[in-house]
Amino acid sequence: MSTDSESGRSAWQLPATGLARLHESLRKAGYQVIGPQVVNGAIVLRELSSADELPFGWGVTLAPGGYRLRRRDDDAAFGHAAGPGSWKQFLHPPREQLWSARRTADGGYSAAAAPRGDAKLAFIGVRPCDLRAIQIQDQVLGAPSHPDSAYASRRSSTFVVAVNCTEPGETCFCTSMGTGPQAGPGYDLLLTELTGPDHVFIVEPGSPAGEAMLAGLEPLPADPSAVQRARDGVTAAAGKMGRTMQADGLRDLLAGSHDATRWEEVASRCLTCGNCTMACPTCFCTTVEDVTDLSGDHAERWQSWASCFDLDFSYLHSGPVRSSGESRYRQWLTHKLGTWHDQFGTSGCVGCGRCIVWCPVGIDITEEVAALRAELGEPEAET
């Protein structure tokens, strides 16, 4: 065992084949293992039936409104940045039954909780930005305020294998948001991938469950020079971000931004399609729908993902409060980067860049923030 002299954490290493053993151990322990894999020209998150399905040797080229797979010149399993989906589709499913009810003879009804499967999830390949995104959603949907929710119970049984970032994408800005490229606490296991003559993973446990799982894999003590190479790789990644965003003081800046002319400018491009909210790992809004069968005797309440870009998202009395595209884009951005602080105590953005990549017209949130700063000036500088 080699101790990281700076933090006292223990570091181990696994060969690339260790991933298969990890996958198998997780399966044996009853987990449904989810991880990245290539499907239809993109790296998506899906159940892995074996570690071979990981996207070894695949990378991505990212741009505003652009995403392409490319072949890497090494065999890295995690040499790619955020794909179209995020882990929220598993912890906060796009469509979920909340409860069902049936009419009873006395004119009332009897309601039953929706069945909660006992499947427990294991995530392999959670990037630091996505790890923080999960924690942000925990704040909104999970134990802090809703300890009895389906989200909280799902979350408490989830095993997280995070992966440090050594190769950020062109649209990444986790450093600006303080969410990466080094993973913060909250993982069960943390991997840092090293390619080269030896394809190895530095592994650090982050919880008792992680330690137990790791012990079963019989890892070797990490070679100190490999540990150093891993640390250097992550440090270097911080300087290779494709984008930056000046995040300080955004809450106050955006609180006074409602009359900015920039909103009109971005609205002239925005299609209000809502892709950004679907791809964003922290967007959590849902809509509730009550349905019955044809007899009217059996009813169900369902919850499904909603977007503040939907025209009827803000419907009140006779029409939407936010009717113009301008007001809806403004709502999304000022919430994500501004009022999220007031509501939940942190920023809502983790710098993953998905909204930039998956916007069909390539609206870049870092560019919008820079433009707003330029138009509104720094709050302290106002005379």
């Binding site: 009332g108 909104v140 809703h146 959590f284 803000s314 007001s327 919430h335 501004g338 009022t339």
Partner: protein, 272 residues
């Protein structure tokens, strides 16, 4: 509380038609009653298979029964307005912030209601009247569209008997109306406002609340002495669905009762 909380069954024990499109339902719990509410809070009312809407409690706090005054403006509210005694309605709650009318102990309590806005204020009025001696003056100013659209008109006399000054005005009179005809803000001056020692509770359409607050501020009150009841699209009631946002506020949690000090800058932003 979470979104997966199932509505509790409550039975309609009484139903009263207030106006052509507004009904007051009194509900009794069919099983264990929900936690008791504070004036200003709301419940989510469920019509089986149709849907759920937020409705402020409109009756006195105390016994387990709940009173709600509902205006038929959509599928769910129409179904609730059609509910007959004995029918079961689903209820979740209570949710939200309250009027905290007792903050006006030793001072004047000024209640200004526009239209159906009197319904969420009624529990505060009744609570204050039940402890009349603890307040200086209690004044209730009521504005409505027309005499036929007044809510709880049979009670105004009782409120006067219990020690409130009640003034009523309508936007348009019918031939038999012998009272004020004006905007409700016209009633404020003649009521004799003591701006330093008044807590004002205002509820009605958003424009009416803004104009009323503007009049009160013009008469020397401060924004933190004025409380309004705000609404936005509400679905979960527990701060998870994101619909009820008004800037930094989640109205199911930080409202519906909001100090005008916090509300004023938000209400002045178009399409917020």
């Amino acid at each position: 509380m979470t979104m997966s909380q199932r509505p509790a069954s409550y039975r309609v024990s009484q139903r009263r038609d207030e106006t052509h499109d507004t009904v007051t339902l009194t509900l009794e719990p069919a099983g264990a009653p929900l936690e008791s509410f504070h004036p200003g809070q709301f419940m989510m009312l469920y019509a089986f298979g149709i849907g759920e809407i937020p409705v402020s409690v409109s009756g006195p706090a105390g016994p387990a029964g709940l009173t709600h005054t509902i205006r038929a403006v959509g599928a769910v509210s129409r179904a609730l307005c059609a509910a007959a005694p004995g029918q079961v309605v689903g209820v979740r709650g209570p949710f939200g912030t309250s009027w905290r009318e007792s903050d006006a102990f030793g001072q004047d309590l000024l209640v200004i209601a526009g239209g159906i806005g009197l319904a969420p204020l009624r529990p505060a009025v009744l609570a204050a009247l039940s402890e009349r001696v603890r307040y200086r003056r209690i004044t209730v100013l009521i504005g409505a569209r027309s005499p036929a659209e007044l809510v709880f008109p049979a009670e105004y006399g009782l409120w006067r008997d219990l020690g409130a000054r009640v003034e009523v005005t309508v936007d348009r009179a019918d031939a038999s109306w012998q009272g004020h005809v004006s905007v409700v803000t016209q009633l404020i001056g003649p009521a004799g406002l003591d701006p330093q020692r008044t807590l004002a509770l205002v509820c009605g359409p958003e424009v009416m609340m803004r104009l009323t607050a503007r009049t009160l501020l013009g008469a020397g009150m401060t924004a933190s002495q004025i409380r309004v009841s705000l609404e936005r699209n509400m679905q979960c009631g527990v701060g998870e669905c994101g619909h009820c946002q008004l800037g930094p506020l989640l109205l199911c949690r930080d409202g519906p009762v909001v100090s005008y000090h916090a509300a004023a800058p938000l209400l002045s932003i178009k399409e917020l």
